[in-house]
Amino acid sequence: MQLLDTTTPRPPADGRGAAPPASPRKAGLWRRLRAARWSYLYLVPLMALLLTFVVYPIFGSLAYTFYRWNGIGSPEDFVGLGNFRQIAHDSIFWRAVGHTFVYAIVVVPVQLVLALVLALVLNNKKLRFSAFYRTLFFLPVVTSPAVVGVVIQLLVSNFGDTFNNWLLDAHLIGQPVDWLGSPKTALGIIILVGVWQTLGYNLVYFLAGLQTIPEEVYEAAKIDGAGRFRTFTHITVPLLRSVGLMIVILAFIGSFQIFDLVQVLTGGGPYFGTEVVNTYIYHLAFGGNQAQATEPDVGLASAASFFYGLLLISFSVLQVLIFRSIAKRRAAGRA
Protein backbone atom coordinates (compact mmCIF):
# COMPACT_ATOMS: atom_id res chain seq x y z
CA MET A 1 0.00 0.00 0.00
CA GLN A 2 2.64 2.47 1.01
CA LEU A 3 4.80 1.74 -2.02
CA LEU A 4 1.89 2.14 -4.37
CA ASP A 5 0.93 5.32 -2.68
CA THR A 6 4.07 7.23 -3.55
CA THR A 7 2.73 7.58 -7.08
CA THR A 8 -0.54 9.05 -5.88
CA PRO A 9 -0.83 12.68 -6.88
CA ARG A 10 -1.10 15.01 -3.96
CA PRO A 11 -4.72 15.82 -3.30
CA PRO A 12 -5.41 19.40 -4.28
CA ALA A 13 -4.72 21.28 -1.10
CA ASP A 14 -5.17 24.88 -0.12
CA GLY A 15 -3.77 26.35 -3.30
CA ARG A 16 -0.22 26.63 -2.01
CA GLY A 17 2.61 24.53 -3.39
CA ALA A 18 3.19 23.56 -7.02
CA ALA A 19 0.03 23.72 -9.10
CA PRO A 20 -0.85 20.46 -10.86
CA PRO A 21 -0.73 20.58 -14.70
CA ALA A 22 -4.46 21.10 -14.98
CA SER A 23 -6.17 23.09 -12.25
CA PRO A 24 -8.30 20.88 -9.97
CA ARG A 25 -11.44 22.76 -10.95
CA LYS A 26 -11.04 21.95 -14.62
CA ALA A 27 -10.04 18.34 -14.08
CA GLY A 28 -12.94 15.96 -14.41
CA LEU A 29 -14.89 14.91 -11.36
CA TRP A 30 -13.64 11.38 -11.85
CA ARG A 31 -10.04 12.50 -11.61
CA ARG A 32 -10.73 14.52 -8.49
CA LEU A 33 -12.46 11.56 -6.92
CA ARG A 34 -9.58 9.29 -7.87
CA ALA A 35 -7.03 11.70 -6.48
CA ALA A 36 -8.93 11.81 -3.20
CA ARG A 37 -9.50 8.07 -2.88
CA TRP A 38 -7.33 7.73 0.22
CA SER A 39 -9.20 10.56 1.89
CA TYR A 40 -12.42 8.66 1.42
CA LEU A 41 -10.84 5.48 2.70
CA TYR A 42 -9.74 7.28 5.86
CA LEU A 43 -13.27 8.53 6.41
CA VAL A 44 -14.80 5.07 6.21
CA PRO A 45 -14.45 4.02 9.88
CA LEU A 46 -15.91 7.28 11.19
CA MET A 47 -18.72 7.44 8.68
CA ALA A 48 -19.66 3.78 9.13
CA LEU A 49 -19.99 4.22 12.89
CA LEU A 50 -21.65 7.62 12.64
CA LEU A 51 -24.22 6.67 10.04
CA THR A 52 -25.09 3.33 11.65
CA PHE A 53 -25.16 4.26 15.31
CA VAL A 54 -25.90 7.99 15.38
CA VAL A 55 -27.59 9.27 12.23
CA TYR A 56 -29.74 6.30 11.25
CA PRO A 57 -31.12 5.79 14.79
CA ILE A 58 -32.28 9.42 14.88
CA PHE A 59 -34.44 8.81 11.83
CA GLY A 60 -35.16 5.23 12.81
CA SER A 61 -36.81 6.47 15.96
CA LEU A 62 -38.76 9.00 13.87
CA ALA A 63 -40.62 6.10 12.27
CA TYR A 64 -41.71 4.84 15.71
CA THR A 65 -43.31 8.18 16.56
CA PHE A 66 -46.32 7.28 14.42
CA TYR A 67 -47.12 4.06 16.24
CA ARG A 68 -48.40 2.96 19.58
CA TRP A 69 -45.84 0.30 20.40
CA ASN A 70 -44.62 -1.35 23.59
CA GLY A 71 -41.22 -2.25 22.12
CA ILE A 72 -41.92 -5.94 21.66
CA GLY A 73 -42.27 -7.40 18.16
CA SER A 74 -42.71 -4.84 15.41
CA PRO A 75 -44.90 -1.72 15.55
CA GLU A 76 -48.35 -2.17 13.96
CA ASP A 77 -50.82 0.13 15.70
CA PHE A 78 -50.53 3.26 13.51
CA VAL A 79 -51.72 6.43 15.27
CA GLY A 80 -50.43 9.14 12.94
CA LEU A 81 -49.64 12.34 14.82
CA GLY A 82 -51.55 11.10 17.86
CA ASN A 83 -48.41 10.63 19.91
CA PHE A 84 -47.30 14.20 19.30
CA ARG A 85 -50.73 15.49 20.27
CA GLN A 86 -50.64 13.45 23.46
CA ILE A 87 -47.18 14.75 24.39
CA ALA A 88 -48.13 18.36 23.71
CA HIS A 89 -51.10 17.99 26.07
CA ASP A 90 -49.22 16.13 28.81
CA SER A 91 -48.68 18.44 31.77
CA ILE A 92 -45.94 16.17 33.13
CA PHE A 93 -43.96 16.62 29.91
CA TRP A 94 -44.13 20.40 30.28
CA ARG A 95 -43.18 20.19 33.94
CA ALA A 96 -40.20 18.07 32.89
CA VAL A 97 -39.26 20.70 30.29
CA GLY A 98 -39.57 23.33 33.01
CA HIS A 99 -37.30 21.42 35.41
CA THR A 100 -34.72 20.88 32.67
CA PHE A 101 -34.70 24.60 31.84
CA VAL A 102 -34.47 25.60 35.51
CA TYR A 103 -31.55 23.21 35.87
CA ALA A 104 -29.76 24.56 32.78
CA ILE A 105 -30.48 28.23 33.50
CA VAL A 106 -29.13 27.99 37.05
CA VAL A 107 -26.24 25.57 36.45
CA VAL A 108 -24.74 27.06 33.30
CA PRO A 109 -24.18 30.68 34.42
CA VAL A 110 -23.10 29.77 37.96
CA GLN A 111 -20.71 27.21 36.65
CA LEU A 112 -19.28 29.29 33.83
CA VAL A 113 -18.58 32.26 36.11
CA LEU A 114 -16.93 30.00 38.70
CA ALA A 115 -14.96 28.18 36.03
CA LEU A 116 -13.77 31.38 34.36
CA VAL A 117 -12.63 32.94 37.66
CA LEU A 118 -10.83 29.74 38.61
CA ALA A 119 -9.26 29.47 35.16
CA LEU A 120 -7.99 33.06 35.35
CA VAL A 121 -6.42 32.36 38.73
CA LEU A 122 -4.92 29.01 37.69
CA ASN A 123 -3.64 30.35 34.36
CA ASN A 124 -1.21 32.61 36.18
CA LYS A 125 2.21 31.16 35.37
CA LYS A 126 3.67 32.41 38.64
CA LEU A 127 1.09 30.51 40.68
CA ARG A 128 2.61 27.39 42.18
CA PHE A 129 0.80 24.03 42.39
CA SER A 130 -1.51 25.08 39.58
CA ALA A 131 -1.65 21.53 38.19
CA PHE A 132 -2.51 20.23 41.65
CA TYR A 133 -5.49 22.58 42.01
CA ARG A 134 -6.63 21.81 38.48
CA THR A 135 -6.67 18.12 39.39
CA LEU A 136 -8.68 18.79 42.56
CA PHE A 137 -11.42 20.56 40.66
CA PHE A 138 -11.40 18.11 37.79
CA LEU A 139 -11.84 15.00 39.94
CA PRO A 140 -15.66 15.05 40.05
CA VAL A 141 -15.70 15.01 36.24
CA VAL A 142 -13.97 11.64 36.16
CA THR A 143 -16.37 10.17 38.68
CA SER A 144 -19.14 7.89 37.50
CA PRO A 145 -22.68 9.20 38.03
CA ALA A 146 -23.42 5.87 39.66
CA VAL A 147 -20.76 6.56 42.29
CA VAL A 148 -21.90 10.16 42.68
CA GLY A 149 -25.47 8.98 43.15
CA VAL A 150 -24.52 6.57 45.90
CA VAL A 151 -22.25 9.02 47.71
CA ILE A 152 -24.63 11.97 47.58
CA GLN A 153 -27.54 9.83 48.71
CA LEU A 154 -25.49 8.77 51.72
CA LEU A 155 -24.26 12.30 52.44
CA VAL A 156 -27.69 13.92 52.53
CA SER A 157 -29.49 10.94 54.01
CA ASN A 158 -31.56 11.11 57.13
CA PHE A 159 -29.71 8.59 59.22
CA GLY A 160 -26.54 8.99 61.24
CA ASP A 161 -24.56 12.12 61.90
CA THR A 162 -24.89 13.81 58.50
CA PHE A 163 -25.49 17.34 57.24
CA ASN A 164 -28.86 17.47 58.92
CA ASN A 165 -27.21 17.25 62.33
CA TRP A 166 -24.67 19.93 61.45
CA LEU A 167 -27.38 22.24 60.24
CA LEU A 168 -29.48 21.50 63.33
CA ASP A 169 -26.53 22.28 65.58
CA ALA A 170 -25.96 25.55 63.75
CA HIS A 171 -29.69 26.36 64.13
CA LEU A 172 -30.03 26.76 60.39
CA ILE A 173 -32.96 24.33 60.27
CA GLY A 174 -35.55 23.48 62.90
CA GLN A 175 -35.92 19.81 62.14
CA PRO A 176 -34.19 17.25 59.91
CA VAL A 177 -34.95 17.79 56.23
CA ASP A 178 -35.55 14.92 53.83
CA TRP A 179 -33.46 16.59 51.15
CA LEU A 180 -34.21 14.18 48.33
CA GLY A 181 -37.75 13.52 49.53
CA SER A 182 -39.38 16.81 48.70
CA PRO A 183 -39.44 18.24 45.18
CA LYS A 184 -37.97 21.68 45.85
CA THR A 185 -34.97 20.64 47.91
CA ALA A 186 -34.38 17.64 45.66
CA LEU A 187 -34.07 19.83 42.57
CA GLY A 188 -31.78 22.13 44.55
CA ILE A 189 -29.53 19.21 45.49
CA ILE A 190 -29.45 18.03 41.88
CA ILE A 191 -28.42 21.53 40.76
CA LEU A 192 -25.68 21.70 43.41
CA VAL A 193 -24.36 18.29 42.43
CA GLY A 194 -24.55 19.28 38.77
CA VAL A 195 -22.37 22.34 39.36
CA TRP A 196 -19.98 20.31 41.47
CA GLN A 197 -19.64 17.52 38.96
CA THR A 198 -19.22 19.38 35.68
CA LEU A 199 -17.29 22.49 36.75
CA GLY A 200 -14.01 20.76 35.92
CA TYR A 201 -14.83 20.42 32.24
CA ASN A 202 -15.50 24.12 31.84
CA LEU A 203 -12.43 24.98 33.89
CA VAL A 204 -10.28 22.96 31.50
CA TYR A 205 -11.97 24.42 28.43
CA PHE A 206 -11.40 27.95 29.71
CA LEU A 207 -7.78 27.17 30.58
CA ALA A 208 -7.29 25.85 27.06
CA GLY A 209 -8.87 29.01 25.68
CA LEU A 210 -6.68 31.26 27.84
CA GLN A 211 -3.58 29.47 26.63
CA THR A 212 -4.35 30.46 23.08
CA ILE A 213 -3.91 34.16 23.97
CA PRO A 214 -0.29 35.05 23.19
CA GLU A 215 1.80 36.27 26.11
CA GLU A 216 3.03 39.29 24.09
CA VAL A 217 -0.44 40.81 24.01
CA TYR A 218 -0.48 40.92 27.81
CA GLU A 219 3.01 42.34 27.92
CA ALA A 220 2.04 45.07 25.48
CA ALA A 221 -0.94 45.93 27.67
CA LYS A 222 1.30 46.10 30.72
CA ILE A 223 3.68 48.49 28.95
CA ASP A 224 0.71 50.64 28.01
CA GLY A 225 -0.14 50.80 31.69
CA ALA A 226 -3.39 48.85 31.60
CA GLY A 227 -4.58 47.58 34.97
CA ARG A 228 -5.86 44.11 35.70
CA PHE A 229 -9.49 44.96 35.08
CA ARG A 230 -8.83 46.77 31.82
CA THR A 231 -6.60 43.95 30.64
CA PHE A 232 -9.43 41.53 31.37
CA THR A 233 -12.17 43.54 29.64
CA HIS A 234 -10.06 44.73 26.69
CA ILE A 235 -7.87 41.71 25.98
CA THR A 236 -9.04 38.52 27.66
CA VAL A 237 -12.76 38.86 26.96
CA PRO A 238 -12.54 39.77 23.26
CA LEU A 239 -9.85 37.19 22.52
CA LEU A 240 -11.74 34.51 24.41
CA ARG A 241 -15.04 35.19 22.70
CA SER A 242 -15.05 32.46 20.05
CA VAL A 243 -13.87 29.79 22.46
CA GLY A 244 -16.29 31.14 25.04
CA LEU A 245 -19.21 30.81 22.64
CA MET A 246 -18.34 27.16 22.10
CA ILE A 247 -18.11 26.58 25.85
CA VAL A 248 -21.50 28.21 26.49
CA ILE A 249 -23.18 26.15 23.77
CA LEU A 250 -21.60 22.90 24.95
CA ALA A 251 -22.61 23.68 28.52
CA PHE A 252 -26.21 24.26 27.50
CA ILE A 253 -26.30 21.15 25.30
CA GLY A 254 -24.93 19.11 28.18
CA SER A 255 -27.40 20.55 30.69
CA PHE A 256 -30.39 20.01 28.45
CA GLN A 257 -29.43 16.34 28.15
CA ILE A 258 -29.20 15.78 31.91
CA PHE A 259 -30.18 12.22 32.76
CA ASP A 260 -27.75 10.18 34.87
CA LEU A 261 -27.66 12.48 37.91
CA VAL A 262 -31.44 12.69 38.19
CA GLN A 263 -31.89 9.00 37.52
CA VAL A 264 -29.47 7.93 40.25
CA LEU A 265 -30.47 10.58 42.81
CA THR A 266 -34.26 10.67 42.63
CA GLY A 267 -35.41 8.73 39.57
CA GLY A 268 -37.45 11.83 38.69
CA GLY A 269 -39.45 11.73 41.89
CA PRO A 270 -40.94 12.56 44.30
CA TYR A 271 -44.17 12.80 42.32
CA PHE A 272 -42.38 13.99 39.16
CA GLY A 273 -40.94 16.85 41.23
CA THR A 274 -37.51 16.42 39.64
CA GLU A 275 -38.57 14.76 36.41
CA VAL A 276 -36.45 16.12 33.57
CA VAL A 277 -37.13 15.49 29.91
CA ASN A 278 -34.70 12.62 29.54
CA THR A 279 -35.96 10.75 32.60
CA TYR A 280 -39.52 11.37 31.39
CA ILE A 281 -38.65 9.81 28.02
CA TYR A 282 -36.83 6.96 29.74
CA HIS A 283 -39.84 6.19 31.90
CA LEU A 284 -42.12 6.25 28.87
CA ALA A 285 -39.85 3.89 26.94
CA PHE A 286 -38.99 1.47 29.72
CA GLY A 287 -41.72 2.00 32.30
CA GLY A 288 -40.80 2.14 35.94
CA ASN A 289 -42.03 5.39 37.45
CA GLN A 290 -44.59 5.13 40.25
CA ALA A 291 -47.72 6.76 38.91
CA GLN A 292 -46.88 6.87 35.22
CA ALA A 293 -47.86 4.66 32.29
CA THR A 294 -47.31 1.11 33.45
CA GLU A 295 -47.02 -0.18 29.89
CA PRO A 296 -43.88 1.03 28.08
CA ASP A 297 -44.77 3.10 25.04
CA VAL A 298 -41.82 3.40 22.68
CA GLY A 299 -43.83 5.39 20.13
CA LEU A 300 -44.79 8.01 22.70
CA ALA A 301 -41.23 8.12 24.01
CA SER A 302 -39.85 8.61 20.50
CA ALA A 303 -42.36 11.38 19.85
CA ALA A 304 -41.37 13.14 23.07
CA SER A 305 -37.71 12.73 22.17
CA PHE A 306 -38.18 14.12 18.68
CA PHE A 307 -40.31 17.00 19.92
CA TYR A 308 -37.69 17.90 22.50
CA GLY A 309 -35.00 17.62 19.82
CA LEU A 310 -36.81 20.29 17.79
CA LEU A 311 -37.02 22.52 20.88
CA LEU A 312 -33.29 22.08 21.47
CA ILE A 313 -32.31 22.81 17.89
CA SER A 314 -34.35 26.00 17.83
CA PHE A 315 -32.76 27.01 21.12
CA SER A 316 -29.25 26.38 19.73
CA VAL A 317 -29.99 28.39 16.60
CA LEU A 318 -31.39 31.22 18.73
CA GLN A 319 -28.28 31.16 20.90
CA VAL A 320 -25.95 31.41 17.92
CA LEU A 321 -28.03 34.23 16.42
CA ILE A 322 -27.98 36.21 19.66
CA PHE A 323 -24.22 35.86 20.02
CA ARG A 324 -23.74 36.85 16.39
CA SER A 325 -25.83 39.99 16.70
CA ILE A 326 -24.04 41.01 19.89
CA ALA A 327 -20.69 40.53 18.18
CA LYS A 328 -21.85 42.50 15.15
CA ARG A 329 -23.16 45.38 17.23
CA ARG A 330 -19.88 45.53 19.15
CA ALA A 331 -17.89 45.53 15.93
CA ALA A 332 -20.10 48.28 14.51
CA GLY A 333 -19.76 50.32 17.68
CA ARG A 334 -15.99 50.15 17.52
CA ALA A 335 -15.76 51.13 13.87
Binding site: Q2, S39, Y42, T52, V54, V142, P145, V150, V243, V298
Partner: protein
Protein backbone atom coordinates in the same frame (compact mmCIF):
# COMPACT_ATOMS: atom_id res chain seq x y z
CA UNK B 1 10.38 35.42 50.84
CA UNK B 2 13.73 34.40 49.39
CA UNK B 3 12.74 36.16 46.22
CA UNK B 4 12.00 39.27 48.18
CA UNK B 5 15.44 39.41 49.76
CA UNK B 6 17.39 38.70 46.61
CA UNK B 7 15.54 41.41 44.77
CA UNK B 8 15.92 43.96 47.48
CA UNK B 9 19.53 45.26 47.27
CA UNK B 10 18.85 48.00 44.76
CA UNK B 11 16.74 50.77 46.29
CA UNK B 12 15.14 49.10 49.29
CA UNK B 13 12.52 51.78 49.73
CA UNK B 14 9.62 51.37 52.15
CA UNK B 15 7.20 51.64 49.24
CA UNK B 16 8.79 48.69 47.52
CA UNK B 17 8.82 46.66 50.68
CA UNK B 18 5.15 47.38 51.23
CA UNK B 19 4.36 46.28 47.68
CA UNK B 20 6.28 43.06 48.20
CA UNK B 21 4.47 42.33 51.44
CA UNK B 22 1.18 43.00 49.74
CA UNK B 23 2.14 40.60 46.95
CA UNK B 24 3.04 37.86 49.37
CA UNK B 25 -0.16 38.38 51.34
CA UNK B 26 -2.19 38.28 48.16
CA UNK B 27 -0.49 35.11 47.05
CA UNK B 28 -1.08 33.40 50.39
CA UNK B 29 -4.72 34.42 50.34
CA UNK B 30 -5.09 32.96 46.84
CA UNK B 31 -3.63 29.65 47.97
CA UNK B 32 -5.80 29.65 51.06
CA UNK B 33 -8.96 30.20 49.02
CA UNK B 34 -7.95 27.58 46.44
CA UNK B 35 -7.17 25.03 49.14
CA UNK B 36 -10.44 25.72 50.95
CA UNK B 37 -12.47 25.42 47.77
CA UNK B 38 -10.50 22.34 46.80
CA UNK B 39 -11.28 20.70 50.13
CA UNK B 40 -15.01 21.31 49.69
CA UNK B 41 -14.73 19.94 46.17
CA UNK B 42 -12.82 16.92 47.38
CA UNK B 43 -14.88 16.19 50.47
CA UNK B 44 -17.13 13.51 48.95
CA UNK B 45 -14.04 11.61 47.81
CA UNK B 46 -12.31 11.84 51.15
CA UNK B 47 -15.45 10.72 52.89
CA UNK B 48 -15.93 7.78 50.51
CA UNK B 49 -12.31 6.73 50.88
CA UNK B 50 -12.55 6.92 54.68
CA UNK B 51 -15.90 5.17 54.79
CA UNK B 52 -14.60 2.30 52.68
CA UNK B 53 -12.43 1.39 55.68
CA UNK B 54 -15.19 1.76 58.27
CA UNK B 55 -17.11 -1.04 59.96
CA UNK B 56 -20.86 -1.13 59.41
CA UNK B 57 -21.49 0.26 62.90
CA UNK B 58 -18.78 2.85 62.50
CA UNK B 59 -20.35 4.01 59.27
CA UNK B 60 -23.49 5.15 61.04
CA UNK B 61 -21.77 6.37 64.17
CA UNK B 62 -19.17 8.41 62.31
CA UNK B 63 -21.56 10.06 59.88
CA UNK B 64 -19.77 12.75 57.91
CA UNK B 65 -16.46 12.25 59.66
CA UNK B 66 -14.21 10.76 56.99
CA UNK B 67 -11.83 9.18 59.49
CA UNK B 68 -12.49 5.41 59.76
CA UNK B 69 -12.83 3.50 63.02
CA UNK B 70 -9.98 1.14 62.23
CA UNK B 71 -8.82 -0.31 58.94
CA UNK B 72 -11.50 -2.64 57.67
CA UNK B 73 -9.87 -3.72 54.43
CA UNK B 74 -12.29 -6.65 54.36
CA UNK B 75 -14.76 -4.35 52.57
CA UNK B 76 -12.39 -4.44 49.63
CA UNK B 77 -11.65 -8.14 49.58
CA UNK B 78 -15.30 -9.09 49.77
CA UNK B 79 -16.32 -6.50 47.17
CA UNK B 80 -13.61 -7.79 44.85
CA UNK B 81 -14.36 -11.51 45.29
CA UNK B 82 -17.82 -12.19 46.66
CA UNK B 83 -19.67 -9.42 44.85
CA UNK B 84 -17.62 -10.10 41.67
CA UNK B 85 -16.36 -6.52 41.45
CA UNK B 86 -13.16 -8.17 40.21
CA UNK B 87 -14.79 -9.45 37.04
CA UNK B 88 -16.75 -6.19 36.65
CA UNK B 89 -13.39 -4.46 36.78
CA UNK B 90 -11.99 -6.62 33.98
CA UNK B 91 -15.12 -6.05 31.84
CA UNK B 92 -14.89 -2.31 32.36
CA UNK B 93 -11.20 -2.30 31.43
CA UNK B 94 -11.92 -4.27 28.22
CA UNK B 95 -14.74 -1.91 27.25
CA UNK B 96 -12.73 1.23 28.00
CA UNK B 97 -9.63 0.01 26.15
CA UNK B 98 -11.68 -1.08 23.14
CA UNK B 99 -13.57 2.20 22.99
CA UNK B 100 -10.36 4.22 23.25
CA UNK B 101 -8.67 2.30 20.40
CA UNK B 102 -11.71 2.39 18.12
CA UNK B 103 -12.40 6.08 18.75
CA UNK B 104 -8.78 7.12 18.28
CA UNK B 105 -8.50 5.23 14.99
CA UNK B 106 -11.73 6.50 13.48
CA UNK B 107 -11.46 10.11 14.62
CA UNK B 108 -7.75 10.71 13.98
CA UNK B 109 -7.97 9.40 10.41
CA UNK B 110 -11.14 11.36 9.70
CA UNK B 111 -9.91 14.49 11.47
CA UNK B 112 -6.75 14.41 9.37
CA UNK B 113 -8.41 14.12 5.98
CA UNK B 114 -11.11 16.65 6.87
CA UNK B 115 -8.53 19.19 8.03
CA UNK B 116 -5.72 18.64 5.56
CA UNK B 117 -7.04 17.33 2.27
CA UNK B 118 -9.60 18.64 -0.14
CA UNK B 119 -12.03 16.30 -1.82
CA UNK B 120 -15.49 16.51 -3.32
CA UNK B 121 -17.99 16.30 -0.49
CA UNK B 122 -15.68 17.55 2.26
CA UNK B 123 -17.98 20.38 3.29
CA UNK B 124 -20.98 18.05 3.27
CA UNK B 125 -19.14 15.67 5.62
CA UNK B 126 -18.28 18.48 8.03
CA UNK B 127 -21.87 19.71 7.84
CA UNK B 128 -23.24 16.28 8.67
CA UNK B 129 -20.89 15.93 11.63
CA UNK B 130 -21.75 19.42 12.94
CA UNK B 131 -25.47 18.79 12.75
CA UNK B 132 -25.22 15.53 14.71
CA UNK B 133 -23.56 17.42 17.56
CA UNK B 134 -26.79 19.34 18.09
CA UNK B 135 -29.22 16.51 17.55
CA UNK B 136 -30.35 14.89 20.77
CA UNK B 137 -29.31 11.27 20.80
CA UNK B 138 -30.42 10.15 24.22
CA UNK B 139 -33.29 8.00 23.16
CA UNK B 140 -32.17 6.51 19.94
CA UNK B 141 -31.32 3.51 22.08
CA UNK B 142 -34.20 1.45 20.68
CA UNK B 143 -33.13 1.57 17.01
CA UNK B 144 -29.55 1.04 18.16
CA UNK B 145 -30.72 -2.00 20.08
CA UNK B 146 -32.33 -3.28 16.85
CA UNK B 147 -29.12 -2.84 14.88
CA UNK B 148 -27.01 -4.55 17.52
CA UNK B 149 -29.45 -7.44 17.56
CA UNK B 150 -29.33 -7.78 13.78
CA UNK B 151 -25.53 -7.79 13.87
CA UNK B 152 -25.76 -10.65 16.43
CA UNK B 153 -23.76 -8.63 18.92
CA UNK B 154 -26.33 -8.48 21.70
CA UNK B 155 -24.95 -9.53 25.10
CA UNK B 156 -21.35 -9.23 24.04
CA UNK B 157 -18.82 -6.67 25.18
CA UNK B 158 -18.35 -5.79 21.49
CA UNK B 159 -21.76 -4.16 21.41
CA UNK B 160 -20.87 -2.00 24.41
CA UNK B 161 -17.51 -1.03 22.89
CA UNK B 162 -18.99 -0.07 19.53
CA UNK B 163 -22.00 1.86 20.81
CA UNK B 164 -19.89 3.58 23.43
CA UNK B 165 -17.35 4.67 20.79
CA UNK B 166 -20.10 5.96 18.54
CA UNK B 167 -21.41 8.21 21.31
CA UNK B 168 -18.27 10.33 21.48
CA UNK B 169 -17.19 10.39 17.84
CA UNK B 170 -18.33 13.84 16.83
CA UNK B 171 -16.61 15.80 19.54
CA UNK B 172 -13.38 13.81 19.13
CA UNK B 173 -13.39 14.38 15.37
CA UNK B 174 -13.70 18.11 15.96
CA UNK B 175 -10.78 18.04 18.35
CA UNK B 176 -8.54 16.20 15.86
CA UNK B 177 -9.68 18.46 13.02
CA UNK B 178 -8.80 21.55 15.03
CA UNK B 179 -5.45 20.13 16.02
CA UNK B 180 -4.38 19.01 12.55
CA UNK B 181 -5.50 22.26 10.95
CA UNK B 182 -3.06 24.26 13.11
CA UNK B 183 -0.03 22.20 12.08
CA UNK B 184 2.48 23.70 9.70
CA UNK B 185 2.08 22.84 6.01
CA UNK B 186 5.87 22.64 5.70
CA UNK B 187 5.97 19.41 7.69
CA UNK B 188 3.91 17.57 5.11
CA UNK B 189 5.71 19.20 2.21
CA UNK B 190 9.09 18.17 3.61
CA UNK B 191 7.89 14.59 4.05
CA UNK B 192 6.55 14.60 0.52
CA UNK B 193 9.85 15.83 -0.87
CA UNK B 194 11.49 12.94 0.94
CA UNK B 195 9.22 10.60 -0.99
CA UNK B 196 6.60 9.84 1.65
CA UNK B 197 3.15 8.92 0.35
CA UNK B 198 -0.27 9.62 1.78
CA UNK B 199 -0.20 6.77 4.30
CA UNK B 200 3.35 7.41 5.41
CA UNK B 201 2.65 11.09 5.93
CA UNK B 202 -0.29 10.27 8.17
CA UNK B 203 0.99 7.29 10.12
CA UNK B 204 4.68 8.20 10.38
CA UNK B 205 4.57 12.00 10.49
CA UNK B 206 1.23 13.56 11.39
CA UNK B 207 -0.05 10.99 13.88
CA UNK B 208 3.16 10.86 15.93
CA UNK B 209 3.08 14.67 16.06
CA UNK B 210 -0.44 14.68 17.48
CA UNK B 211 0.54 13.13 20.82
CA UNK B 212 -1.23 15.73 23.00
CA UNK B 213 -4.46 15.29 21.07
CA UNK B 214 -4.21 11.50 21.24
CA UNK B 215 -3.84 11.88 25.00
CA UNK B 216 -6.77 14.30 25.18
CA UNK B 217 -9.20 12.25 23.10
CA UNK B 218 -7.98 9.04 24.72
CA UNK B 219 -8.62 10.47 28.17
CA UNK B 220 -12.06 11.83 27.27
CA UNK B 221 -13.06 8.49 25.76
CA UNK B 222 -11.63 6.51 28.63
CA UNK B 223 -13.48 8.62 31.20
CA UNK B 224 -16.84 8.32 29.50
CA UNK B 225 -16.43 4.61 28.72
CA UNK B 226 -15.28 3.76 32.23
CA UNK B 227 -18.19 5.63 33.81
CA UNK B 228 -20.84 4.82 31.25
CA UNK B 229 -23.97 3.53 32.89
CA UNK B 230 -26.83 3.40 30.44
CA UNK B 231 -25.16 1.76 27.42
CA UNK B 232 -23.65 -1.25 29.22
CA UNK B 233 -26.85 -1.58 31.22
CA UNK B 234 -28.98 -1.96 28.11
CA UNK B 235 -26.66 -4.26 26.17
CA UNK B 236 -25.74 -6.68 28.94
CA UNK B 237 -29.16 -6.94 30.59
CA UNK B 238 -29.48 -10.69 30.38
CA UNK B 239 -25.83 -11.50 31.10
CA UNK B 240 -24.88 -10.39 34.62
CA UNK B 241 -21.33 -11.73 34.12
CA UNK B 242 -20.76 -9.02 31.48
CA UNK B 243 -21.67 -6.14 33.81
CA UNK B 244 -19.33 -3.19 34.10
CA UNK B 245 -18.51 -1.49 37.42
CA UNK B 246 -21.24 1.19 37.35
CA UNK B 247 -23.88 -1.34 36.35
CA UNK B 248 -22.64 -3.82 38.93
CA UNK B 249 -22.68 -1.19 41.62
CA UNK B 250 -26.18 -0.16 40.78
CA UNK B 251 -27.42 -3.72 40.72
CA UNK B 252 -25.78 -4.24 44.10
CA UNK B 253 -27.45 -1.13 45.50
CA UNK B 254 -30.81 -2.45 44.35
CA UNK B 255 -30.36 -5.84 45.97
CA UNK B 256 -28.63 -4.99 49.25
CA UNK B 257 -29.53 -1.47 50.15
CA UNK B 258 -27.88 -1.63 53.55
CA UNK B 259 -24.27 -2.52 52.89
CA UNK B 260 -22.95 1.02 52.60
CA UNK B 261 -19.31 0.50 53.53
CA UNK B 262 -19.15 -2.09 50.83
CA UNK B 263 -20.51 0.36 48.25
CA UNK B 264 -17.90 2.88 49.32
CA UNK B 265 -15.20 0.27 48.69
CA UNK B 266 -16.75 -0.41 45.29
CA UNK B 267 -16.74 3.32 44.52
CA UNK B 268 -13.05 3.56 45.38
CA UNK B 269 -12.28 0.50 43.22
CA UNK B 270 -13.97 2.12 40.24
CA UNK B 271 -12.26 5.47 40.89
CA UNK B 272 -8.64 4.40 41.22
CA UNK B 273 -7.79 3.62 37.57
CA UNK B 274 -9.35 6.78 36.26
CA UNK B 275 -7.62 9.00 38.78
CA UNK B 276 -4.28 7.36 38.02
CA UNK B 277 -4.74 7.77 34.27
CA UNK B 278 -5.85 11.36 34.66
CA UNK B 279 -2.79 12.16 36.77
CA UNK B 280 -0.54 10.57 34.15
CA UNK B 281 -2.09 12.33 31.16
CA UNK B 282 -3.28 15.63 32.56
CA UNK B 283 -0.25 17.65 31.51
CA UNK B 284 -1.05 16.87 27.86
CA UNK B 285 -4.70 17.49 28.41
CA UNK B 286 -4.99 21.27 28.53
CA UNK B 287 -2.28 21.67 25.87
CA UNK B 288 -4.14 19.30 23.59
CA UNK B 289 -7.40 21.20 24.02
CA UNK B 290 -5.63 24.52 23.55
CA UNK B 291 -4.09 23.21 20.31
CA UNK B 292 -7.51 22.23 19.04
CA UNK B 293 -9.36 25.45 19.85
CA UNK B 294 -6.62 27.64 18.37
CA UNK B 295 -7.70 26.62 14.88
Amino acid sequence: MAVLVSRAPRGRTPARRRAAVRRTAGRSLTHLLLLGGGLVWLFPFLWTLGSSFKSSDGFFAKGLNPLPDGAHASNYTSAWKEASFGSYFVNTAVVAAGAVILTLLATSMAGYVLARTDFPGRKACIGLISVTLFLPHGYTIIPIFDIVQKLHLLNTLWSVIIVQSASGLVFATFLFMGYFSTMERDIEDAARVDGAGFHQIFWRVMLPLSGPMIATVGLFTFISAWNSFFIPLVFTLSKPELRTLPVGMYAFLGQNSTDWTFLCAGSVISLVPIVVIFLLLQRYFVNGLAGAVKG
